[in-house]
């Protein structure tokens, strides 16, 4: 840690990991209800559990992004954060909002647009927190050195905050509601978040591999260019069947096919940099998570996305377990694993010590990644059968679901592995054991590269 104000990131990461725990436990509970549907049915209905599962995910990923920004911007800009006080105020607002949202969900108070169920005051809280954040990081970057990494990171964060405006726009016309809803949902995860992801990945690879900055930053611009060129019009793949014009079927099919490209590039980028890099960085766990994130993102977001994005396929597979399979692996690879890569890289520095618990951390990677892969496979099988029975033959939904029960049981098993992996990860970050299985390197290798 070269700058004192980077310490802010520590508290963002701790809050993020706490919510990560809540998120996966909520997921496990929801997975169990698929197996045993009467469980908690009267006390805590499925829709409330699912809101907690998805909302906790989104908030902890954002907390991780904010923390990552507060960690990497001082190093990139070569100066302290403009105001650490504002950074803490922002964190408090976000935590009060999150706890308020969870509390009101449990009390049955919520909206009904998927993922945007937060009560209005929480939405405003998120907006205020985002504005504080943008002010804070922008002032820091403007006063300091500007790099491609901070350019792209800031652009991603500004745009995603601006798109949050659409969380407040809810037309009475359902089809318009859906169209503008995707401005938040799709243009977050398939456009602006990719900018944030690519910038953070570039920072990590720069530090971990020691490859020349010029090369890393050129890759970065190429990656984010392909992300936005494909992702903006790729929004069309959500516009096929919600009452929008038919031309979206072709626009969406063609451009969302190209959405594979940025993910393929990010995976290639990570491996090429590691091969080219001559540095043997002591933080092996962070490197594993960085490579793992870009690889799983390519399969989860890229391959599994393409699997059902062409309109001729999507006509039959839309809204089945295929979508669930893709959603889980894409989020895990692109955004969960990337955040865990940042935590693995930054936490030792924030605690001013050498990398620790690396074997435990890497074990948690394989447990979580294995679990998510297995979950994706069984949900894909379930979705294929569902598509055939329900969409081709025309059997009724509930009957089809009953015949999928064996897959839901296997999914619960996979989810259990993920939860154990997640808890192991959190443990490996928080608790430093006395003996290390592999010897650590120095805490701050090669300063200022």
């Amino acid at each position: 840690m070269k700058y004192q104000s980077q310490k802010v990131a520590l508290y963002y990461f701790l809050a993020a990991m706490a919510l990560f725990g809540i998120q996966v436990l909520g997921g496990l509970l929801a997975g169990w209800i698929y197996v045993s549907p009467n469980f908690l049915a009267e006390i805590l209905p499925f829709n409330v559990i699912r809101m907690i599962h998805t909302n906790a995910l989104i908030v902890w990923l954002l907390l991780g992004f904010f923390g990552a920004a507060y960690f990497l911007i001082p190093e990139e800009s070569e100066r302290e954060i403009w105001s650490t006080k504002l950074a803490y105020i922002q964190l408090v607002i976000l935590l009060v909002g999150t706890l308020g949202a969870v509390g009101s969900y449990l009390a049955g108070i919520h909206g009904g647009r998927e993922f945007l169920e937060q009560p209005l005051w929480v939405k405003f809280g998120i907006l205020v927190a985002a504005l504080i954040f943008l002010l804070n990081v922008s002032m820091t970057v403007l006063a300091g050195k500007k790099t491609a990494i901070t350019n792209v990171l800031l652009m991603g964060l500004w745009l995603l905050s601006l798109l949050w405006i659409f969380a407040f726009i809810n037309p009475d016309n359902l089809s318009l509601d859906k169209m503008y809803w995707w401005f938040v949902v799709h243009l977050w995860v398939e456009a602006t978040w990719e900018l944030v992801m690519a910038a953070i990945l570039a920072f990590l690879l720069l530090k971990l591999t020691g490859v020349d900055r010029e090369i890393v930053e050129k890759w970065l611009y190429v990656i984010v260019a392909t992300a936005l060129f494909s992702g903006i019009l790729g929004t069309g793949h959500h516009f096929y069947w919600i009452g929008l014009p038919g031309y979206w079927q072709w626009v969406g099919s063609i451009f969302s096919t190209f959405e594979v490209v940025p993910f393929f590039l990010m995976m290639s980028f990570a491996f090429v940099m590691v091969w080219k890099g001559r540095k043997n960085h002591p933080n092996k766990a962070a490197l594993l998570w960085s490579l793992g994130s870009s690889t799983v993102a390519f399969f989860g977001a890229g391959v599994w996305g393409f699997l059902h994005t062409l309109h001729g396929v999507n006509f039959y597979s839309h809204g089945t377990q295929i979508t669930a399979a893709h959603g889980h692996l894409a989020f895990y690879g692109a955004y969960v694993a990337l955040n865990l890569a940042v935590f693995s890289y930054a936490m030792p520095m924030l605690r001013e010590r050498a990398p620790y618990n690396q074997v435990l951390n890497m074990a948690s990677f394989w447990l979580m990644t294995g679990g998510m892969a297995f979950m994706t496979f069984v949900l894909t099988f379930a979705g294929t059968i569902q598509t055939h029975m329900q969409r081709v033959i025309g059997d009724y939904y509930m009957n089809v679901q009953e015949s999928l029960s064996v897959f839901f049981l296997m999914r619960f098993g996979a989810g259990t592995a993920v939860v154990i992996g997640a808890l192991l990860f959190i443990y490996s970050m928080l608790v430093v054991r006395k003996t290390e299985v592999i010897p650590p390197g120095s805490a701050n290798p090669v300063p200022g590269e």
């Binding site: 499925f46 260019a225 009452g243 809204g319 329900q390």
Partner: protein, 150 residues
Amino acid sequence: MAEILTKSRARNIFYGGSIFFVVIFVGMTVHSHRYVVQTSTAGMALSEDVVHGKHVWEKHSCINCHSLHGEGAYFAPELGNVMTRWGVQDSPEDAFEFLKGWIESQPSGVEGRRQMPRYDLAEEDIRGLAEFLRWADQTDTQGWPPNDAG
């Protein structure tokens, strides 16, 4: 690639290209907005009942179990075409009666079957919800879903 594609060229392509695609996207959005209002959803008036029904739908977060036009939670049946499936799409009164009967019979309590919670809805809420689902059903969704099973 090194000489032709410099970092500053890559950056300029990124900024220029992104603005280009944003402009196209905004244009198509404007056209789509008009198409929705004037064509695809114009078959039935967006009445007070429909709007009230949408609020009832949102207040109870139905989307986190059901799906609507294929979007939602996949835990419970698709409702974008439920009125057609029940055969009551053309009759507001039948739609209301059928929906009221369904909601008031939940939860089924059947062991091993997914449970819908009991919602104590006023008559005007159920009427609104029925109208909202009829309104959603009449939307031109390019022929989706493939069959009545949803």
